[in-house]
Amino acid sequence: MNQLVTFGPDQHLVGILSGDPVSTAPVLVLPNAGLIPRAGPFRLHVELAERLAAHGIRTFRFDTPGVGEAPRLSGCDTQEATLAALDHLAEHHGVDRFVVGGVCSAADLGWALATRDRRVVGLLMLDGISFTGFWFHFARIAGALRRGPGAWFGIARRLLGRTAANATAAAAGAGRMPFIADERGWPGRAEARRQFAALVRRGARSLWIYTGGYADLFLHPRQFVAMFGRVARSSAVEMHYWPDCDHTFYARQHRDRLLGTIEQWMLTQERAGWSAR
């Protein structure tokens, strides 16, 4: 069953609540990913809602201000809008636990909400927060070596081009090239590590998937443990690295794999009772 829900400042935001209205399982909240409207990349969110509804699990997909149908709203950014969605679902639909996330910016929202709202008991992190480091550079160099001397000239040219672009930006007064973590509102590496440890400690569950389309930020599965430390090996954390997939899961077979993985993860957590807050 799909239900239209208006919420937020003056009820200007619109979402679709799917699934069993009397379910007590946490609701999976799916904000738009980037500029893609709430139906999701290639209708990923619609299909996910259908799959989970078959198990009675509810999902809520919506457009944040300035995306899809949603107007820009003064004083209501994407985090405030997501919080408004949680508050509305809690007040009007009796929901007291949420799983939040999705692809890219939606994962970022999930992270931001989880760190400030204990009602968030699960995170769906698809190409979410990531920091490069030893394993990233190791994988990059190993990849270059595997490709053989014929490719090295091109790789060197690209690296030099990037260095030159940085220098040009610095000379133009930019100070430094914008870092993706700044654009996406990520905390610094140490803070992220501390936040993640706190989330796991309070029992939050998380599913992480990194794709090959995220090659500027994630290249090796060991990078994950290097980023977050031992807590990344917790039973509350599930991580996959899918180098064959792209960032928005363009191919049908990739979306099927993703949908199946999320469905199983949600069911497994539901059977395990999720967590205490």
Partner: protein
């Protein structure tokens, strides 16, 4: 109906095939003419979601109530992508046109079809569907040619090293059940490829207007009036990426306003039916 401020999201159609729709009531005294927005298809639909919303808001501000909707198996409507074919799309257009008339009481409906939305609209008109006017926004006229272009673009996407940097150019396995990343049925591919939009086939032959790029001619669609798109107007058909969204630019806003003015005047100045051989009246936007 829920209320999202100035427009009303709601479901139309029956159980099991509910269509997502959004009604934009006229915000100034209504003109008597309503606009049914027929969305573009596949990747162009989601990319242009915001633009169509903005166009509907603009028209409603000018006194023209509008209804937007998603075809069955697309957007937020019920159904899987492979549930959609030309027959279901014809049914959807009929449901949406009726919903617009019923909810607003307008005496006339203009169907404003964007790009590939022209193909099901043309098929619906050929099957006897009736509206008082048709406005075609950069219409796709040759269904076979368009489906061929999309199939080529889909194949290129599946071997793109930009999309799949870790596959080193090894193509993903293609499928005739997918087009531009979206699930489609073989039936829909065949259906769309079989449509050549032509006013000759329309049973009731409503007058047609166009919203076109400079210099574009459509021999099979005699247009009574053409609104010319400015150079800065976003191209719905460009690229296959989902991470871009199209907006109403300042230049495009003027085109929409001109269209709204022309539609609002229809009731007070009814225009004669177009005849074969009539010259087109082209109306360039101010830049």
């Amino acid at each position: 109906m829920a209320d999202a401020g100035h427009w009303l999201p709601h479901w139309i159609g029956g159980d099991g095939r509910r269509l997502y729709a959004a009604l934009h009531p006229a915000r100034t005294p209504a003109s008597g003419c309503g606009v049914l927005l027929v969305p573009p298809l596949l990747h162009e639909q989601l990319r242009s979601r915001r633009m169509l919303t903005q166009i509907a808001i603009r028209l409603a501000d000018a006194g023209i109530p509008c209804l937007r909707f998603d075809f069955l198996g697309s957007g937020d409507s019920d159904g899987r992508g492979d549930h959609m074919d030309l027959a279901s799309m014809r049914e959807d257009i009929g449901i949406a046109a009726e919903a617009l008339r019923a909810s607003t009481g307008v005496a006339e409906v203009a169907a404003l079809a964007f790009r590939g939305g022209t193909l099901p609209l043309s098929s619906w008109l050929a099957a006897g569907g009736d509206v008082e006017r048709v406005v075609l926004w950069e219409p796709v006229v040759d269904g076979a040619g368009w489906v061929g272009e999309l199939a080529d673009a889909d194949a290129a996407e599946l071997r793109s090293t930009a999309r799949y940097p870790r596959r080193r150019g090894v193509p993903m396995e293609g499928s005739d059940r997918q087009l531009m990343g979206f699930e489609v049925s073989r039936q829909l591919r065949r259906d769309l490829a079989g449509v050549q939009a032509s006013a000759d086939a329309w049973r009731h032959r409503p007058p047609a207007w166009g919203v076109l790029r400079s210099g574009v001619q459509l021999p099979s669609l005699p247009l009574q009036r053409v609104f010319e798109l400015p150079a800065d107007a976003a191209r719905m058909g460009d690229g296959t990426r989902m991470d871009g969204a199209l907006f109403v630019s300042p230049g495009l806003q003027q085109v929409v306003d001109a269209l709204a003015t022309a539609l609002a005047q229809l009731r007070s100045h009814p225009q004669p039916q177009p005849q074969p051989g009539w010259p087109e009246v082209r109306e360039a936007s101010a830049s």
